[in-house]
């Protein structure tokens, strides 16, 4: 009898702790998403600086207009390229798997595949602004103390994320989240083959739209660690962004204030 009770208790305990771990990992991920992404429609200016072997090789500026989809809860973003002058006015739309590139000079709207999107600078956008909890299932992989992007030691939860939706760019993600405040500290993004695609550090937290948010993301290429992109986020503005903006037919009409 005692043995049977002990056995049942052990099962309950293991099931209970498993359930707790699953729920808490997902909750941590949701809280982490909420820090990177304001919970209302907003625009933000993004300055991308690209380095090769420590040397600056490119700089781009774009403005991202984002809102949460009414269905599914994923972020949809309309990106307007500002600099360099060659690309000024060009647009990229990402609404789930619906992705478009628009050139105002040729008036051409071109549908993009996820692979095509990885070519451009905006490819790094989903490292910075994406609702991971919607597309990935999180599991707790333990606690680790790591150095954050500003060189400080942080006690973190290590989460492993497996894609639960189709059409996502990354098959698996490892994420380190501050145990104190759910701030994302670091993430590693993997292809389906297991190849490391990118490592991202979220740093320089500042008060933006009512919360401390990372204003800089350092992205290190997985294949070539000498290729580094720094994304700087500035001018966060809460604004009305109707869902009707997030479609191909609106691209030729897009002229925000």
């Amino acid at each position: 009898m005692v043995n049977r009770s002990t056995f049942l208790f052990a099962i309950w305990l293991s099931f209970g702790s498993w359930a707790y771990a699953v729920v808490s990992a997902d909750e941590i991920l949701v809280a982490s998403d909420a820090i990177r992404n304001p919970g209302r429609p907003f625009s933000v200016t993004v300055t991308l600086t690209e380095f090769r072997a420590g040397k600056q090789v490119d700089t781009n500026t774009l403005i991202s207009y984002s809102r949460t989809q009414q269905e599914g809860g994923q972020f949809s973003s309309l990106i307007r390229f500002v600099l360099p002058a060659r690309d000024a006015g060009k647009l990229m739309l990402k609404n789930g798997s619906d992705m478009w590139f628009y050139d105002p000079v040729s008036k051409a709207s071109v549908r993009l595949s996820p692979q095509q999107r990885l070519i451009g600078q905006a490819a790094n956008g989903d490292v910075a602004t994406v609702n991971l909890a919607r597309d990935y299932k999180a599991a707790m992989a333990g606690e680790e103390e790591i150095k954050d992007g500003d060189g400080q030691s942080r006690k973190t939860y290590k989460l492993t994320l497996a894609a639960s939706a189709t059409g996502v760019t990354y098959s698996n993600i490892e994420m380190w989240v501050d145990t104190q405040n759910s701030r994302p500290i670091k993430a590693r993004f993997f292809a389906e083959s297991g190849r490391l695609l990118k490592t991202a550090y979220y740093r320089k937290y500042q008060l933006q739209l009512g919360a401390e948010r990372p204003t800089e993301t350092v992205i290190i290429d997985g294949l070539n660690p000498q290729s580094v992109t720094i994304m700087r986020f500035s001018d966060y503005v809460a604004r009305a962004i109707p869902e009707s903006w997030m479609q191909r037919d609106f691209l030729p009409r897009f002229q925000p204030e």
Binding site: R80, L83, V110, R111, L112, Q115, E216, Q255
Partner: protein, 424 residues
């Protein structure tokens, strides 16, 4: 394998793993020392302006004369958005091309007022009303757009054979346009009146005779029909012709593959009759273009497209025309070019673009257009290097085919030119 070798292997793997981990850590530490470029304050006015100067020099190897022909061009390209309050915008887009040597019967300097229109947006962008000269373009295909109903007569100058770049020069048509958008679709209506009868030869003229030489109306419905598929349904009416209907589709087939197709069906005189200025009876025919784009992980995008024009000459008629009246064939090509229509009954396009070819900021673009009726081909390739405000490009173009074929009849056998573009 003995225990020692197993242990040695384990040790080697462990050392390699630790070494790789520490290498990663060192790479990360180096990366985190980097500082991003300062955030540039970009004035709203600057974001609304696009202005560049393009200069071209080159040489064309000719079919009908000995030696090469030196060619050159200088172009100024300007676009500006003016904002009045939150709902009103005024768009101006203009381009001036000075071409050497000038085309016989045309001015050497040609101004193209591409767009000049006022736009009002209400309901947070849900309702749009626009009036003026508007470049209204439809069609997702790469090389031929049967649903691009306002394409005819829209090019004053031909500065490239690249179908993508060609679209940058085209004139808009004067029209009143209204659009209503909702979450996953839109309905739009455009009304374009006749304002002039014949094209203008004045290089500085508005050339309304090219873009507004008949009354036209277009109704277009765009819808997202699946998570990764969109369609457009169109109905177009031009004065003197019955209604032409059209449809287009774009869809995502896989993480690396997209498909695009468009079709139109209408009744009009065939292309040869239009080229000859004959009042031939209208017949109902189809136009179609459909292709697939695949992108590799190495940043190479490849598009293969099939194109069909039921109004173009059939294979046997095209061959007969070329034999009987070579000048008639030239007139046929010129008319197809003016209408931005497909001269061949059937054609294919293979289009490649490679970003960061061998080195950062060096792009390669190339395409082959082939007339399936006469097997003639146009091959075009560009190597383009980007700097912050400057592009330098080398272009090479070759036409291949019999003397009586679509591309074999063109005077330019081979064109090599160097472009410099400065963005202000």
């Amino acid at each position: 394998m003995n225990c020692k070798s197993v242990l040695d292997s384990c040790f080697a793997v462990s050392v390699a793993f630790v070494f790789a981990a520490s290498a990663h850590a060192a790479d990360d530490a180096d990366a985190l020392k980097l500082e991003g470029a300062p955030i540039e304050a970009v004035a709203a006015s600057a974001r609304d302006t696009r202005f560049f100067l393009e200069a071209v020099v080159g040489n064309s190897s000719q079919r009908y004369r000995l030696g090469g022909l030196d060619i050159g061009r200088v172009s100024l390209d300007f676009s500006q958005t003016f904002r009045v309050g939150t709902a009103l915008r005024f768009f101006l887009s203009d381009r001036v091309d000075h071409i050497y040597p000038d085309v016989v019967g045309a001015d050497a300097t040609v101004n193209s007022l591409r767009e000049a229109y006022v736009s009002w947006q209400g309901d947070g962008g849900g309702t749009v009303v626009e009036f003026g000269r508007i470049n209204l373009r439809y069609g997702p295909a790469y090389g031929y757009n049967p649903t691009d109903f306002f394409r005819d007569g829209s090019l004053r100058t031909l500065t490239t054979a690249n179908p993508f770049a060609l679209r940058e020069n085209r004139l808009g048509s004067v029209m009143l346009r209204a659009q209503r958008l909702w979450a996953e679709g839109s309905l739009s209506f455009a009304l374009s009146p006749k304002l002039a009868s014949v094209p203008s030869r004045d290089g500085w003229g508005l050339d309304l005779g090219s873009t507004n030489n008949k009354d036209r109306a277009l109704l277009a419905l765009g819808m997202k029909v699946a998570e990764t598929a969109n369609i457009q349904l169109l109905a177009f009416k031009a004065n003197g012709l019955s209604t032409t209907i059209g449809a287009s589709l774009t869809a995502l087939l896989s993480d690396a593959t997209t498909v695009q197709a468009e079709w139109s069906h209408g009744s009009e005189p065939d292309l040869l009759s239009r080229a000859r200025g004959l009042s031939a009876p209208s017949t109902a025919r189809n136009r179609f273009a459909g292709g697939v784009t695949y992108t590799t992980s190495g940043k190479l995008s490849i598009t293969a497209e099939y194109e069909y024009n039921g109004f173009a000459l059939s294979k046997s008629n095209a061959a007969a025309l070329a034999q009987i009246t070579p000048m008639g064939q030239v007139a046929y090509q010129v008319e197809a070019q003016r209408l931005q229509d497909l001269a061949a009954r059937q054609a294919i396009l293979v289009y490649l673009s490679q970003k960061d070819f061998l080195t950062k900021n060096l792009d390669v673009t190339a395409f082959v257009r082939a007339n399936l009726n006469d097997a003639s081909k146009l091959v075009w390739m560009e190597l383009r290097r980007h700097w912050t405000n400057f592009d330098l490009a080398l272009q090479w173009q070759q036409t291949l085919g019999r003397a009586t074929s679509e591309y074999g009849v063109l005077p330019d056998r081979r064109v090599v030119q160097l472009l410099g573009i400065y963005y202000f």
